[in-house]
Symmetry: C2
Subunit: 332 residues, 2 copies
């Protein structure tokens, strides 16, 4: 049996360390081929661990005395806090002691640390951050949503190939459809970047490029891998989150506005909850930072034990499928 | 009494000519200071007009023998179909026979025709297309959503000032808050375009610039005028439409999924409908194309008589406030 070793940031996120530790326990109880390194302050971690029964040999506590705060400027944080749970955890991946690192901590620090501490695969120009977004029919991978904007066409082509590999091998979508975000369906449409990238994507025989995708069609699930430059990716990702939460709150207000509608809401609640849950990408685990010498996964800051568990299990598929090896062979 | 003269494209849109003509009749019945030129095929227009009673002197039929189809390539359509309802209507504005032109027709043709037939105010570098989008607290103006991508910083600054003027004088928002779309709140964040534009906007004393706005916060209504380059504007506008419609359909499916929830849905329907209606920008009229020698308003392709009426009435405010004159004086 090949064990997947996952370093987990015990101190990052709103629910740390309780929900993080619980998620790790859940993961090793479900999968005997996973070993977790819980990185952070040992007394805090152990206080949580004593609450559970689990196979002791599958969880090891690794000390890190510092913590990176959620609002801390990322570049400085990674540079200065060498003994933070994030840097120590990422160093385990860099040193090949762990296959992957999972954190609910400071997003900016994850992006900086991924590139500088874990390091990119040789030949990868930029490591894209690739969250899954919910659609009517499942999920799509949206990349790049990282911090480095103004990408070049050859970088977008790498994103497309990294994303297709991830969706096929880790998420399990056969022959994933790859689209480029554009403002019209025709090949001659778009800004300078899209116009230059489009013919390059068309020439890639190793991906299933379906052409332009308009943002209007993304929620319907028209393609599996959505390629764009990071400024546009961030705009899409954050508008997705913001608009969904505003609309749901507007609808809740509507349901609570009259006595009759309140009764209606009570009756409809279980069915509604179930449907809205299908529109929640966190079921699939966290968002990967791709193209690195190992996997880095960022879960939501508010990640629950379930999301942490799913993110850890997702790492074992990444390892089994040897995504890093495949990237080295085929993409670079 | 100063009459506002509005040319209306009788042939454009999914519900033409019936809903268009009805909207014109509604407008002149409500406002005696509006005169409408209904542009298109006289027999078709008159067949509709005979259905209504209205002050005859307020509606005049202007003949145009051609029509621009919804899917027709816009540049060619405007160039070749000189006797189309769109070109003839826009020409009335260019020749100062009308103050404004309202159409539910081919969007691309509206953008091309606005710039080439009506013409930009001298000094305006690009005429931005500026739809209103619904928010939790009202509406925000999003510009540019036009077809010309890769804008320059000085163009974005003009968009900001045109948008602020429109929101204040036509929509009636006092001291409208102007924000630039960005991927973080800090001034040093953003792509090259945003970084260059930000300090220029800060120096504009005639607008209430509040800094960066993240797409996540747009639906909450954090600012009144949202400035961005047209590629990003189109992505936001279309994702807004697509995600709202997908989410509402997902919620409907949820409400219809069990017998209990169906009863609940029936009870909640009137309240829910009312709330969702508040999240509908078409109540405010159509989307203006700004910076032209006269106003051009594009309504939805599926515009109802009510939206057409609101769009016509919106033109009279534009005229009353002499927006074109104010742009000439202050912006250029």
């Amino acid at each position: 049996m090949d064990t997947t070793k996952v370093a987990v940031d015990a101190m990052g996120g709103d629910n740390a360390p309780a929900a993080i530790v619980e998620g790790c326990v859940d993961a090793v109880k479900e999968r005997e081929d996973i070993k977790v390194f819980l990185v952070g302050k040992p007394d805090k971690i152990n206080a949580e661990l004593t609450k559970y029964e689990f196979p002791k040999e599958q969880i090891e506590v690794v000390e890190a005395t510092e913590e990176i705060e959620m609002a801390e400027p990322p570049v400085n944080a990674i540079k200065k806090k060498k003994d933070s749970s994030m840097v120590v955890g990422m160093k385990l991946v860099h040193d090949k002691k762990a296959d992957a690192f999972v954190t609910a901590g400071n997003s900016g620090a994850v992006l900086v640390g991924g590139q500088t501490v874990v390091g990119r695969i040789r030949g990868i120009k930029r490591a894209p951050f690739a969250p899954l977004i919910p659609t009517k029919t499942g999920v799509s991978l949206l990349l790049d949503c990282g911090a480095n904007v103004d990408a070049r066409p050859d970088q977008l082509v790498q994103f497309a190939r990294l994303g297709a590999l991830y969706m096929e091998k880790v998420v399990g979508v056969e022959n994933p459809r790859v689209g480029i975000v554009n403002i019209g369906a025709e090949e001659e449409k778009g800004n300078a970047l899209v116009k230059e990238t489009f013919p390059m994507l068309k020439e890639c025989n190793d991906i299933n490029f379906i052409g332009s995708v308009e943002s209007r069609d993304i929620p319907e699930g028209v393609c599996d891998v959505i390629v764009c430059e990071a400024f546009v990716g961030n705009v899409i990702l954050k508008l997705y989150e913001g608009l969904a939460s505003t609309l749901i709150s507007v609808i809740k207000d509507g349901l609570m506005s009259t006595a009759k509608s309140k009764i209606g809401a009570l009756l409809a609640k279980p069915a509604l909850k179930k449907t809205l849950k299908s529109f929640d990408a966190s079921e699939y685990g966290g968002a990967p930072l791709l193209g690195l010498e190992g996997l880095v996964v960022k879960t939501h800051g508010s990640a629950t034990n379930k999301e942490v568990k799913n993110s850890i299990i997702q790492c074992s598929l990444f390892k089994e499928q040897d995504i890093t090896g495949k990237v080295r062979e085929s993409i670079v």
